[in-house]
């Protein structure tokens, strides 16, 4: 077994016990990336010197007998978390050479827990996409089948974990950008409750939806990663002032007997691949065999989640992305006058999907349309949220497929924006309601000639991450999903 195959907890324990050094592990992963990145394209920036410098300081700490939670373990960081002194672009041409003068709170927390910055991972431009194809640095390939997408927008973070190019990584989820790629790559991905992780220093897409989360190859590692990155931050007024929980501890202390699992009938509908359904049914059966109770529930406004999302998110994006004017940082394309410079900069700096969303946002926010589109979508968002509140009066957790199908081919949906948007059909409602959701590998299936992983989504009430991760852990023990071989 190679060092780069170690999981997060495993590696942290070995480093702490001085069986391996952080420097050895970091070198092993850097070599793995060098060998694999040409093919997978999971990383857009790797700074060997910084990684080895951080590893060295972890090794010093170990020597001094002063290890922290994840001391010395190298991590992949989605390229929208600002990392001080290390290029951060959100995979947009408009942020090409942006070197943040400050560190995001999520990464600050990770470094304070002993993490090592391995590199910045590829993503859809400004996190707008479900296939990683809108990245300025090119699409990421799914390690399970190189002709397929790893999903998006956190495609690089998911692929890096699946392909053993890091033990764990950060992602961000605005409408499914952690859960969908986790499902497509056979990894565990958790998006916590809105507010659990600080948004400070995270390049903004849609501020009322953006939430950081984690990827790992097993539930315990995802829990440990979430614990290391979350927490209250006075620099983010929407961050939740609640203590950090030790999510990774006592994961097995969970009684399935009596657990009430809600199955929303609106999620088990046409368009759901029958083989996906079969796999999800098996997962449910595993739980009922152990004494869990299944309750059919209804989330009646599910159908309207994707359209509501595609009004709310672009409207917030149009406002957030107005800051990119080429004056103080990022790309500038000189024009004849100030307005011309703005326009040339933005026209060259943004990709097509980002432009579409800015224009849709400005349409729905313009006078005469504001009430019919934007306010209407906000009212529907309230109804979608209420659906969940009502459901959680009856059940403890909701199970659904994470996506209607396994990973699709690169280029497969790029021509039709609405088809691409529908890929988020099972994940956006959770985001609109701000609830925690995770995706765990549930099985594999034959799909268009490939053998691909399928994810089960678990949704819980606000701030129920601990319960959710324990449920996911129980699922993992019963499923025995075999991950990709290194």
């Amino acid at each position: 077994m190679e060092l780069y195959e170690l999981g997060l907890k495993e590696a942290a324990t070995k480093i702490k016990n001085k069986e391996i050094s952080s420097t050895e592990l970091t070198k092993s992963l850097l070599d793995r990336i060098e060998a694999r990145n040409g093919e997978i394209n999971a990383y857009v920036t790797v700074d060997r010197d910084i990684a080895l410098e951080m590893a060295q300081s972890s090794d010093t700490r170990i020597k001094e007998g002063n290890p922290r939670l994840i001391e010395g373990v190298p991590l992949g960081i989605k390229d929208l978390f600002c990392t001080k002194g290390v290029r951060t672009t959100a995979c947009s041409h408009i942020l090409d050479n942006f070197i943040p003068p400050y560190e995001s709170t999520v990464t600050t927390n990770l470094w304070n827990a002993g993490g090592v910055l391995l590199g910045k991972t590829n993503m859809d431009e400004f996190a707008m996409g479900s296939s990683n194809e809108s990245s300025y640095f090119g699409a990421v390939k799914n390690p399970w089948d190189l002709s397929r997408t790893p999903g998006g927008s956190s495609g690089g973070s998911a692929a890096a974990v699946a392909d053993y190019q890091c033990a764990a990584s950060t992602g961000s989820d605005t409408g499914g950008s952690i859960r969908q790629p986790a499902s497509f790559t056979g990894t565990v991905g958790i998006k916590p409750t809105y507010g659990r992780c600080s948004r400070f220093g995270m390049v903004a897409f849609a501020s009322s939806l953006d939430q950081a989360g984690a990827f790992a190859r097993n539930v315990e590692d995802a829990a440990l990663m979430l614990r290391s990155m979350s927490g209250y931050d006075e620099k983010d007024s929407t961050s939740a002032d609640r203590p950090i929980e030790n999510y990774d501890e006592k994961l097995d202390q969970f009684d399935i007997k009596g657990l009430k699992i809600g199955l929303p009938k609106e999620y088990f509908v046409d368009g759901l691949d029958p083989k996906v359904k079969e796999i999800i049914d098996q997962s449910i059966k595993n739980f009922t065999d152990q004494g869990a109770e299944v309750v059919e529930i209804s989330l009646p406004h599910t159908k309207y989640a994707v359209p509501a999302y595609y009004i709310v998110a672009p409207a917030e994006a149009a406002a957030n992305l107005a800051r990119y004017d080429g004056m103080r940082y990022g790309l500038r394309v000189e024009g004849d006058n100030l307005m011309d410079t703005y326009m040339k900069t933005r026209t060259e700096g943004f990709g097509m999907e980002v432009k579409r969303r800015i224009m849709i946002g400005n349409y729905t926010l313009s006078s005469g349309y504001y009430d019919a589109y934007y306010t209407k979508a906000q009212r529907v968002r309230a109804l979608i949220t209420k659906d969940f509140v009502d459901a959680f009066e009856q059940v403890d957790v909701i199970f659904t497929p994470t996506t209607p199908t396994p990973a699709f081919k690169i280029g497969g949906k790029v021509e039709d924006p609405v088809q691409m948007y529908l890929n988020d059909i099972f994940t956006v409602a959770t985001s609109l309601a701000g609830l925690p959701g995770l995706s765990v590998p549930a099985g594999k299936m034959g799909f268009e000639g490939a053998n691909l992983p399928v994810g089960l989504q678990m949704i819980g009430p606000a701030f129920s991450e601990r319960q959710l991760l324990r449920t996911a852990y129980a699922h993992e023990q019963m499923t025995k999903f075999e991950p990709l071989k290194a």
Binding site: E234, D241, I311, M327, N337, M359, I360, R381, A382
Partner: protein, 96 residues
């Protein structure tokens, strides 16, 4: 819903984007399709439902103490400037 090229041009201007003729045609099609799709919301009865801007109740938003936390980071900030002179951002002429 059809979006005409005039609307696309207006949106481009609002968005500070330039749109050439070929892109304009493509956007007429794409934006029209997206707006058709999101217009489904009109069929939802939202009478008496308050618009929801955030999942975080405004009553729990904390206030921080009003004190200076940032030191002078001018040099670091200027490093990202596309055009700089003597520690100032150089921008196109603003007053005609």
């Amino acid at each position: 819903m059809s979006i005409n090229s005039e609307t696309v041009n207006k949106l481009a201007k609002l968005s500070a984007l330039k749109v050439d003729t070929a892109t304009n045609a493509e956007l007429c099609h794409d934006l029209g399709k997206i707006l058709d799709f999101v217009s489904q919301l009109q069929e939802v009865n939202t009478d008496g439902v308050e618009p929801m801007a955030s999942t975080v109740g405004s009553n729990i938003t904390p206030e921080r103490e009003d004190k200076v936390t940032e030191t002078n980071t001018r040099e670091a900030l200027m490093q990202n400037s596309p055009k700089e002179e003597m520690g100032f951002f150089v921008v196109p002429r603003v007053v005609e």
